[in-house]
Amino acid sequence: MIPLSWYLIVAALLFSMGLYGVFARRNAVAILMSVELMLNAVNINLVAFWRYLAPDQVTGMAWAIFVLTVAAAEAAVGLALIISVYRNRDSVVAEELDLLKN
């Protein structure tokens, strides 16, 4: 079998890449896509810990499915917000959305 740490390292890499995308991308849709990558990384961690440390309990799987649910809700609302912002401001560049600044 594969050592547990390999899964954790893959998940950490995916999480860090998503984090970079969230910090550095300008397009709001790209930021949302990076957030999805981070959620996936967290899910890999949950499933790996479930499989290696507590396979006789369903807690890990149940958590992963709740994360999946929340990710779906987050994507739906986030994309609706982006579309609404695009209608009003004609832009989806994150740094141009400074409505609350003035």
Binding site: P3, W6, I9, V10, L13, L14, L32, A71, L79, I83
Partner: protein, 181 residues
């Protein structure tokens, strides 16, 4: 052996496509790469004996969320131009921050779970009982979700959350009355 191959293929897909997602100029290509990355994560689930989650990943992420993202990209079409800089002015700082986060995570992981084979055997493989448990993971999961001593209330809350998100998404994205006319 099959697990190793699945894990390696899944990791390469997930990480390679994930890298394309965060660096690509063309957002549409990024969304397609995101689908491949989700596929790789599904393969990683398969290598962890979580077939149900892999199927759910295919259905929810690749089938629903990716399509939603592609719709959003097409509805905000002007932003698909590839000439603009995809990164903002703080991308070096962001690179430093994410490399630091990865370094911290990596050192913590190899400190607790060294890269040796000593912990490569999951606890499940050590007992025949756990093997039997793994056989009906889906049954256990189902009874945990709707059983009285399980996750009934979180389960119902999740469905309310999904309903609220759906209604909220429709209302937020609803065109203003003057735009419709």
């Amino acid at each position: 052996m099959a697990e190793q191959i699945t894990f390696i293929i899944g990791s390469i897909l997930a990480l390679g496509a994930g890298f394309i997602v965060v660096t690509n100029r063309n957002l549409f290509h990024g969304a397609l790469a995101l689908m491949i990355s989700f596929l790789g994560v599904a393969a990683i689930y398969l290598s962890l004996d979580a077939g149900f989650l892999a199927a759910a990943q295919l259905l929810i992420y690749i089938g629903a969320i990716s399509i939603l993202i592609i719709f959003a990209i097409m509805l905000t079409r002007r932003m698909m131009q590839t000439t603009e800089d995809p990164f903002n002015s703080q991308f070096l700082l962001a690179l430093a921050a994410s490399v630091t986060v990865f370094a911290i995570l990596f050192s913590a992981i190899v400190y607790v779970w060294p890269l040796t084979a000593s912990n490569s055997v999951p606890l499940a493989a050590k007992t025949a009982v756990a093997d039997a448990v793994l056989q009906d993971t889906v049954v256990n999961l189902g009874s945990a979700f709707v059983g009285a001593d399980g996750y009934v209330i979180p389960f119902e809350l999740a469905s309310i959350l999904l309903l609220a998100a759906m209604v909220g998404a429709i209302i937020v994205a609803w065109p203003k009355p003057e735009d419709v006319a």
